[in-house]
Amino acid sequence: MIQRRKAFVEIKLLRLGLIAKPNSPCEEIDDHWLHAQPALNLSPEKAAASLAVDVWSYQSTIKKRYQTLQVRYPSDQFMEKHIEWGPAAELLGNPIMRLNWYWQSGLIPDFKPSMDCTTALARLDSYLE
């Protein structure tokens, strides 16, 4: 998790979610400003551990993995497992859901590789070309 810099006053972490609520007239992003809070019950890390995949797997990989689990472990016999797998597959299988988790939590996605000082220096040239 990337630490936030120390700020003198409490930073107003207000966010419009990336997913519109079903009863809202708005269809893409949310219309209510909410205080950013991590949803602790299911984080991308927990979801990935439960499905035994990488947090940043592609959508198609997650969907395939979930299908395999469904075939191998029918939901009527492995109900407890599926209570975990269903929401995990939903969170990681849709990039907008996964990104929304970070965004709504006020956290920076820990995706690697990421832009840093060295990469930025290296890329300055290409901008000038």
Partner: protein, 464 residues
């Protein structure tokens, strides 16, 4: 010629990065630095004010001192560093106007790199930390003269600048979007990787926005005026958002893969939500943003319409930004009255943008924008009744126009032309009134708002 010299300076800057970084790390050799860093939270502790005076209880020295040996060494080394870059790239052979242009561009490059730099693996150790530790805010020293024009090195918490005259200079930074290379990538995995980097970058930019806004809030409380810095910050971030939106619009069509498309969708939602965040000082705190911000939001709306041509919320955003620049009201916006709800999108709540710039355009444009937004809410919700929250949103929007605090800046208020006919305006207002009368639950408290809105839009029925 000047392009070549800019490239040469930038190349030299890059080659000598490690010696430059050593200068940035100089403060860390001071025995007091670690105590300072532990308590550092982005503000200039030396600038004593009632708002931050309780800091002394944390054991920090607030005494103002002149340039210490450490500060003198820091500035001398920086000065030498840049002097040698400029000498070796033959910058001084150019005319002073050319030199000014090159330094302006070079300054942007340096500050973009500084944006990503932090020392000792500690995110609290940034360039601004050096400036505050060494008490070098607004420091200026002459580098060279060209035909009686003195070019100075300028240091502030916001970065490094080069200026020939401006004592209130706010260092410029190149938009971070310029470092991203979505265009030239061929493989699917590279594209996804780059999109995710951009997603991360947007979260970082908003983090920077929040962090600096908290600092500006402190400065404001200490009697300073940080609006110019915040405006510049908003412009810097929005420039990147416009670039990112343009890429989404141009490139998402070029990929058939669902994996890529879904990442683009997530990116589009993120950049949209992040843009709304930049509007908060205007929509909530009623700050008048300058023209440059309005122009960038117009560009953003245009870029987004290429991605989602039927998005009516973006169309209202475009109209609001164009009204804010004195334009006429686009009659095509009336098409909404005859369209079925599935024939258009309402991606986001247009209220933020309408509230933000309502000070800048005519009352008539404002009421038209508010009425059309209200109609959108009702049309998308029908046959269900509208949540009273959205009714309040319409009321707040209508009243927002008179609630702005003008900060003495040069804010042009337009008397916009409006070529909609009297009948067209009446149709819009009466459609909204019909909805207000028929598609709302008459619960307590709501009735008052309905009456207020009916009054506002009825009175204007006779307007031309």
């Amino acid at each position: 010629m000047s392009d070549l010299i800019l490239k040469k300076i930038t190349r030299l800057f890059k080659e000598r990065w490690s010696s430059f970084e050593e200068i940035l790390l100089l403060p860390s050799h001071d025995k007091d630095f670690h105590l300072f860093l532990n308590s550092y939270c982005g503000v200039d502790l030396a600038a004593s004010s009632p708002a931050i005076s309780h800091l002394s209880s944390r054991g920090l020295t607030l005494s103002s001192r002149g340039l210490t040996a450490g500060s003198t060494k820091f500035t001398q080394l920086l000065k030498n560093h840049f002097e040698s870059l400029f000498a070796e790239s033959q910058l001084l052979t150019l005319e002073s106007t050319e030199i000014e242009k090159i330094l302006f561009e070079f300054e942007k490059n340096i500050n973009l790199i500084l944006y990503y730099w932090f020392g000792l693996d500690d995110k609290n150790y940034q360039f601004r930390t050096c400036i505050h530790f060494l008490k070098l805010s607004q420091f200026q020293v002459e580098l060279f003269q060209k035909k009686s024009v003195a070019f100075c090195l300028f240091l502030s918490a916001n970065g490094i600048g080069f200026t020939s005259h401006d004592k209130q200079h706010i260092p410029n930074t190149r938009p971070s979007s310029k470092l991203y290379q979505l265009k030239i990538l061929a493989s699917e995995s590279d594209v996804i990787s780059e999109i995710r980097c951009v997603q991360r970058e947007i979260c970082l930019l908003i983090e920077e926005w929040e962090y600096l806004n908290s600092i500006y809030a402190i400065e404001f409380r200490s009697g300073k005026n940080p609006f110019a810095k915040r405006n510049q910050l908003a412009i810097w971030i929005l420039e990147s958002f416009c670039d990112f939106q343009k890429w989404i619009s141009e490139l998402n069509k070029q990929h058939d893969s669902q994996d890529v498309k879904s990442e683009y969708e997530a990116l589009a939602a993120l950049v949209l939500s992040a843009t709304q965040k930049i509007l908060l000082p205007a929509s909530i705190s009623r700050i008048c943003y300058p023209q440059d911000v309005i122009v960038l939001l117009e560009k953003f709306a245009k870029n987004r319409l290429e991605y989602m041509p039927h998005d009516y919320s973006t169309k209202l955003m475009l109209q609001a930004t164009q009204s804010a620049q004195g334009s006429d009201f686009a009659s095509q916006l009336l098409d909404i009255l005859n369209l079925k709800p599935h024939e258009w999108k309402l991606s986001f709540d247009p209220n933020n943008i309408i509230k933000s710039f309502s000070w800048s355009y005519s009352s008539k444009h404002h009421l038209l924008l508010c009425a059309l937004t209200g109609i959108c809410y009702f049309k998308k919700t029908a046959p269900k009744k509208l949540d009273p929250f959205f009714l309040s949103e319409i009321s707040y929007s209508v009243q927002s126009k008179d609630s702005f605090a003008f900060d003495g800046g040069n804010h042009k208020i337009h008397d916009n032309p409006c070529s909609l006919s009297c009948e067209q305006t009446q149709i819009i207002f009466s459609t909204l009134i019909d909805y207000l009368e028929n598609n709302l639950n008459y619960i307590e408290g709501v009735q008052e708002q309905i009456e207020f809105l009916k009054q506002i839009f009825k009175v204007r029925k006779g307007d031309s």
